[in-house]
């Protein structure tokens, strides 16, 4: 057996032994563990699973040992992910710290920042949220206006951030702030880490078309932040933010694969809600065609993800393929959601109550919630701008 085959077999048997059966069921949003100072485990099994993974250091297998990871290579980390997916293991910890801030801190953080924050993220002690967008700065993120003025050893923050997911439950927030109002817009921005317990911070939850949401607006009123919490150079926050956005886009392009609801998959939904003929085929030719289009699109997207990985390993290809994934993945996920609601007919219209099943309500809410996928993390239109500029060399929008 090759080394990777040995590692795969070892990983698999460890997971089989250590992942409780209840943690191999599809997960619902209420069953996710997000960690943090005020975090609580949704169940005893969730606690056992998280603690075993934490001791094994597989919550962040590719992070260095010093920061709570297992120091594994990209390939081994992917094997663990693969095997977890095959066994249906839940993620032991949901964390913006792992998905977004961690990789940026590893690249741009000072030693003190890495020591303070990375182990806390890996061990689930700190829950993070993101402060990028503002009411007046969405797609044009670089026009953000939240001010951070230097006052001795501190920055003093004034302004507000919107779409700060879970800010009401987070311990820390990473923010883009304007430190030099005179500079060209991208050049006067810095990246700050802010303790949510600081005086002067208030958080207001936002209700969405899909109902209560994790999104909030966060207000800063003369909030004092130590200068040591600056990540990267002063006025150099845009570079950090761009690196981090790439992680977010990758995450969003994978969203269709790891959806966390009670909703059925598209094919199962079709079989439950549409008439089928004697051979098990969806009888309505138009619905069957729509479903086939969707499944084929997902198949092609999956093959393209695989091609990107193979090309990067072989150092082949244009390197531009990844630019299309966020756009293709989120647009198709919206189509899938609309298709499922359409298949459910009037059962796909329920908002709440006993007249509709859990999967039905989750499908409706999912369809409404999916509208944000092609807006957050760089809207589809921004993605197309980026493709036009970087892949096609067309002149920038003036």
């Amino acid at each position: 057996m090759s080394d990777t085959a040995v590692f795969r077999a070892t990983a698999r048997s460890w997971l089989e032994e250590n992942c409780p059966a209840s943690q191999r069921q599809p997960i619902t949003p209420g069953e996710q563990y997000w960690g943090g100072r005020n975090g609580s485990f949704p169940s005893e099994d969730a606690r056992i699973w998280f603690e075993r993974m934490r001791e094994q250091r597989w919550v962040v297998p590719e992070w260095p040992l010093a920061y709570g990871g297992a120091g594994l290579g990209e390939q081994e980390a992917r094997i663990i992910k693969d095997e977890m997916r095959k066994l249906g293991c839940r993620s032991p910890l949901y964390s913006l710290g792992i998905w977004m801030l961690g990789p940026a801190l590893l690249e741009f953080g000072s030693e003190a920042q890495k020591d303070e924050h990375l182990p806390a993220i890996a061990q689930g002690r700190a829950r993070w949220c993101q402060g990028y967008s503002e009411p007046g700065a969405g797609s044009d993120l670089a026009s953000l206006q939240t001010r951070a003025e230097i006052d001795g050893d501190h920055f003093v923050l004034n302004g507000s951030k919107i779409w700060t997911s879970q800010a009401d439950r987070a311990d820390w927030i990473f923010c883009l702030v304007r430190t030099d109002p005179a500079a060209r817009k991208q050049e006067g921005i810095s990246f700050l880490l802010i303790d949510m317990a600081s005086p002067g911070i208030t958080v207001r939850p936002i209700e969405l078309i899909s109902g209560a949401s994790e999104f909030c607006q966060t207000f800063f009123d003369n909030v004092r932040v130590p200068r040591g919490n600056l990540v990267g150079p002063l006025h150099g926050g845009w570079g950090v933010a761009k690196a981090l956005l790439k992680h977010e886009r990758k995450l969003m392009s994978e969203i269709g694969i790891e959806s966390a609801t009670r909703a059925y998959g598209a094919i199962e939904c079709a079989k439950r809600y549409l008439p089928v003929n004697a051979t098990g085929q969806v009888a309505d030719a138009v619905m069957r065609d729509r479903l086939a289009r969707h499944e084929m699109q997902m198949h092609a997207i999956g093959l393209t993800q695989q091609r990107i990985i193979e090309e990067s390993k072989a150092r082949a290809g244009s390197g531009l393929t990844a630019l299309v994934m966020k756009y293709c993945g989120t647009e198709e996920e919206k189509r899938r959601q609309e298709l499922m609601v359409a298949m459910m007919g009037s059962q796909g219209l329920g908002w709440e109550g006993e007249d509709f099943s859990g999967p039905e309500i989750d499908t409706v809410r999912g369809m409404l919630g999916s509208k944000a996928l092609s807006i957050a993390g760089g809207s589809s239109e921004i993605q197309l701008n980026i493709i036009a500029k970087r892949a096609l060399g067309l002149p920038g929008v003036t």
Binding site: A285, E295, A300, T304, L384
Partner: protein, 379 residues
């Protein structure tokens, strides 16, 4: 599975691109069209291709081929798609030789494949009987005669049917039209008494024929495989054909896209290059995304021919439907974005559009392949 070409494969593609640019540019197709060339391709070009080994690219070494693998066929087809190169490569080497390799006896392979590999023997596959692709719908009967078999009926849309020396004919020896069982493959000499061949004039200026069989005699020795049991081999031949054709369509779409992109950067209106307008940029970016997805599907389908044959049917339908839709979108957008000049015969874009329309029908349109994909996936 491997979705990245090896160095060897990349080299093959580079060589092919240079060769085709020199010997089979788009102007060569224009010339064939203008001179009403009776063959529809250049025999000189075909000998040169055969000399490079292309005619035997997927044929095993023991039968005189290069045994390069189907990924190589895909790359050649893709390059041919870029210059609209007319040749017997697809009909003879992918479909014809594929049928012999998959259904024929060892003696038949020994005798025929080396001749295909040198380019001397050109084959064609006679399958369709109506204007819609329907492999199981074959109805023309091969009936037992004292000396072998007798074929009667009409075959449509036979690519290179008028020029091939031998025809692989799909006929029914049992069952009823619509059934997969009861189909057989026969090798029929182009000069056989009772066979009439009529070349069709299609919009792409390439080759397709209608064949009429009137009590054509076929020796039993010319049967490929067991009588009545051709379906599995036929499916594989068609799936290989779909993968190869999708590769050609990818090449055509890429070429169309690159020419359009160059035009967007050069054409000025309202005092600016039109490629600076966001409305057009977004359409170009969407085409780029479509091409990227098609590229992955083409590689996967060609790779599956040898690496994972059990996945081939699903991937062949995936890639043919995608190639159809992508080719339709890209050729239409290419005309639209070129504006008035895009509708003229002077510009090559129209030739790509015309070729795409033939490829889109050949071996199944998108509706056919989405329905087949759904069946294979169990819905």
């Amino acid at each position: 599975m491997s979705l990245v070409p090896t160095d060897e494969q990349r080299q093959l593609a580079d060589t092919a691109r240079e060769f085709l640019r020199e010997y089979a540019p788009v102007t060569a197709l224009r010339q064939l069209r203008e001179t009403h060339d009776p063959l529809g391709y250049s025999m000189d070009l075909w000998s040169r291709m055969a000399e490079l080994g292309w005619a035997g690219i997927t044929i095993p070494e023991q039968y005189g081929g290069l045994d390069f693998g189907f990924a190589g066929t895909g790359l050649l087809m893709q390059e041919c798609g870029r210059t609209l190169a007319a040749s017997p490569l697809f009909a003879s080497c992918v479909l014809g030789a594929g049928a012999i390799a998959l259904a024929g006896s060892d003696a038949q392979k020994q005798k025929l494949l080396p001749l295909v590999a040198t380019g001397e023997l050109r084959l064609a596959l006679a399958l369709e009987e109506t204007h819609r692709h329907d492999p199981a719908g074959v109805g023309i009967a091969a009936t037992r005669s004292a000396r072998g078999w007798e074929l009667s009926g009409v075959k449509q849309f036979v690519i290179d049917g008028h020029s091939a020396e031998q025809l692989v004919v799909v006929a029914r020896t049992g069952g009823a039209p619509g059934e997969q069982g009861g189909l057989s493959l026969f090798l029929v000499d182009a000069g056989a008494p009772g066979l009439e061949r009529h070349r069709l004039a299609l919009l792409d200026s390439r080759n397709a024929a209608r064949l009429e069989f009137r009590s054509v005699h076929v020796d039993d020795a010319m049967r490929l495989g067991e009588a009545g049991e051709a379906w599995p081999a036929l499916q594989q031949v068609l799936d290989r054909g779909r993968a190869a054709l999708a590769a050609e369509m990818l090449g055509g779409a890429e070429e169309c896209f690159e020419r359009t992109l160059a035009y967007l950067k050069q054409r000025e209106q309202f005092g600016a290059v039109i490629g600076s307008f966001q409305a057009l940029q977004h359409r170009a970016a969407q085409m780029f995304a479509e091409l990227e997805l098609l590229r992955s599907a083409v590689r996967a389908a060609c790779d599956a021919v040898e690496a994972s044959p059990s996945m081939l049917p699903l991937l062949a339908s995936l890639v043919k439907a995608r190639a159809n839709d992508c080719a339709e979108l890209l050729t239409n957008e290419a005309v639209q974005l070129h504006g008035g000049i895009g509708t003229t015969d002077e510009l090559d874009i129209g030739l790509f559009l015309k070729r795409a329309r033939v490829c889109m029908q050949l071996l199944g349109d998108s509706a056919f392949h989405r329905a087949r994909y759904a069946s294979l996936r169990g819905f």
